[in-house]
């Protein structure tokens, strides 16, 4: 084990104000299940799960309530024992609609029987372990929510030589991963060793930004006894250091090709929260039923890091953190990539890293102006795209032109919008353009 500074410097990026002080020293608090859980079947990237319970069913914690409905999909489990109140459609935090199972917890919090872990995972084969991960319904907990069992089964012609554990948490305000690393360092490292065993990766790199000295110390200690090529890489604080393509570059100097995946350059990036869930799934057979979420922002009276059951309504999260005074904006996630919410009726999912409340004085409403050609967005873009030009193509609804300028490589980090002095909604244009191109490609396939 050695500790090194990141050998390469990520190009582009921005330096927002981090504002992590209000929650960085708050210990994770376990929340009891709320009065009613509304568990969305769209907890992850890909096809939403298919509900397999009906109104009136009694469920135990960890029981499957949604089965994966495609190759890129993940199972959903009851986050608490209780009775199913309804199965209906609900709006997801991302805007679409997906089936949701409403569960009224009975207060016993009884786990389903028969959950078994692999005590001897080091001798188990990759397939058995990935099976455990799939059964636990784990999806990437850094934000994108890609089903982990799919990620852990790369095709045989794409071997993974470097496993990167992502503890960068570069989004302002969020401290959930930071606290996890401090409080559950040894569990995370166990999860990391399991993933390394599955992939047969030679090198392991743990990436943490240098504004988290406590987390670095805790992980250093936990990693001390781990054999093999293991290093803790301290990244320079900056946004988006936690984005996987940028992190891979900072650590290995390899550039993920356009339209490619990390496995194309022999890398795999896993979030610290995901590693901990993998540990629970493999050692205890426990499905993913809860996650740590940072509830913060100036209007929140007692901000903190809470471990809440999946499907906890945002209103209950806010109440658990002392409630809040008048707020003007609610963001699910961090301020850079999070999704603004129309109300507190949505519920937590496997990707709910934070819930941010902003006071009326903290938000600004702009009207966008024409591009002045200053090029700040081009300097800021960590994917080396030209957001200024792209947005003009997209404004003219020239999707082919935008495709030619590689709009599909945009990671939607928001650095361009953040740096635009004309307040152009650049990243929204990109999202729009990507959606159009995806639709076109899907139509062309048929």
């Amino acid at each position: 084990m050695k500790t090194i500074r990141a050998p390469y410097r990520v190009r582009g990026g921005v330096h927002p104000v981090y504002r992590k002080d209000r929650t960085r020293e708050k210990t994770i608090v376990d929340l009891p299940p709320p009065a009613l859980l509304r568990v969305s079947m769209a907890q992850h990237l890909g096809a939403p799960a298919r509900p397999v319970v009906k109104k009136g069913d009694a469920v135990a914690r960890g029981q499957v309530i949604g089965e994966p409905s495609g190759f890129i999909s993940a199972a959903v489990h009851a986050p608490a024992s209780g009775a199913v109140k309804a199965v209906d459609n609900e709006r997801t935090p991302a805007g679409g609609a997906a089936p949701a199972v409403q569960i009224e917890p009975d207060g016993e919090d009884r786990w389903i029987e028969g959950l078994e872990g692999l005590s001897d995972w080091a001798r188990a084969d990759a397939k058995t372990i990935v099976g455990k991960v799939a059964a636990a319904g784990i999806a990437g907990m850094g934000g994108a929510g890609f089903p982990t069992h799919v990620k852990l089964s790369p095709p045989p012609d794409k071997p993974i030589d470097t496993l990167i554990l992502n503890g960068a948490e570069c989004e302002p305000y969020l401290t959930a991963d930071h606290r996890l690393m401090i409080e559950h360092a040894s569990g995370i490292v166990q999860g990391l060793e399991i993933v390394r065993h599955v992939l047969g990766a030679g090198a392991v790199r743990v990436a943490i930004e240098d504004n988290k000295p406590e987390a670095i110390a805790a992980m250093e200690q936990a990693l001390a006894g781990v054999a093999g090529d293991v290093a803790l890489v301290i990244l320079e604080t900056g946004y988006p250091q936690g984005a996987e393509k940028q992190q891979i570059y900072a650590i290995t100097g390899r550039e993920v090709p356009s339209a490619g995946l990390p496995m194309d350059v022999g890398c795999l990036v896993e979030n610290v929260g995901t590693a901990l869930s993998v540990r629970d799934a493999v050692l205890a057979g426990r499905p993913l039923t809860e996650r740590v979420t940072t509830v913060t922002g100036t209007p929140v009276r007692a901000p903190g890091n809470v471990r809440a059951r999946l499907g906890t309504p945002y209103a209950d999260l806010l109440a658990a953190c002392g409630g809040g005074e008048a707020f003007a904006k609610i963001v699910a996630g961090g301020p850079m990539m999070g999704l603004a919410q129309p109300g507190l009726d949505a519920t937590t999912t496997k990707t709910a890293s934070g819930l941010l409340f902003l006071a009326p004085g903290e938000i600004a409403t702009y009207s966008s102006m024409p591009c002045i050609g200053c090029g700040r967005c081009i300097v800021a873009c960590p994917m080396l795209l030209m957001p200024a030009e792209l947005s003009q193509f997209l404004e003219a609804e020239d999707y082919e032109g935008a495709e030619g300028l590689n709009v599909m490589d945009c990671i939607e980090c928001g650095c361009c919008s953040f740096s635009c002095p004309a307040h152009r909604p650049l990243v929204q244009h990109m999202k729009q353009g990507k959606a159009h191109v995806m639709l076109k490609r899907r139509a062309a396939k048929k």
Binding site: R91, A94, G95, G96, A340, P342, Q428, H429, Q432, A435
Partner: protein, 268 residues
Amino acid sequence: MTSILMTAGTVGGIGLVCGVALALAARFLAVKEDPRIAAVTELLPGANCGGCGYAGCADYARAIVVDGAAINLCAPGGQETLDRLAAYLGQEAEAGEKKVALVLCGGDAGKAPRRYAYNGVADCAAAHAVAGGDKICAYGCLGYGSCARVCPTGAIAIRDGLAVVDPALCISCGACVKACPRNLIQLVPVSQDVHVLCSSNDKGPVVKKACSVGCIGCRLCVKLGGDAFEMDGFLAHRRYHESLDEETGDKAVDKCPGHCIVRRSLRS
């Protein structure tokens, strides 16, 4: 002197060779195009709107002559073009009735409230992607003008946050029908003047909260109007191919508890 003659000779020679080659090519490589294609193209209005489903008027003309496509697909041309085409091609003129676009939503700013202030790209699909749109109603017109921007004749205006089609300007090309991300626009025969101006498939109580002119799925219009209306889940549809007499139409308009059935003439 010789250099001038040389130049003139060379250029003239090249010209002669090329001229002969072109003349031969025109004779032996000529593509025989049906002269009717050009004639039919002349008869079409030349709007190139694409409403017929072909790439433009010339492409449609080719389809009529070569593939035997139906001659009544040109909406902007209307009856006049159809008659001319029928006379030229010696076919029966089976008129499709003129249709105009109608936005099946009546929830303007005063009737359908919004949940949050949207401050982004002024495009309906973009607004819809942000938490499902800023209207409480998940089905209604967002009013960011994606349809108005694709309309070749400027027939669509956004009034009080609701797209409204001017039937006099509409050439029923169907561009707006494709552009609306919420599929609210339908091409409706001009003779019909009773419409269900709602597309919400939500249950009654949900609709009531979202809009004061929404269909609550009570089925009353189906009971009153018989075949002229039908239910699709919790939403009533007007079946435009069924006629509706004046009296029954008035009754449906008066009695509709959701106030979403209205009488609006589409004739210009």
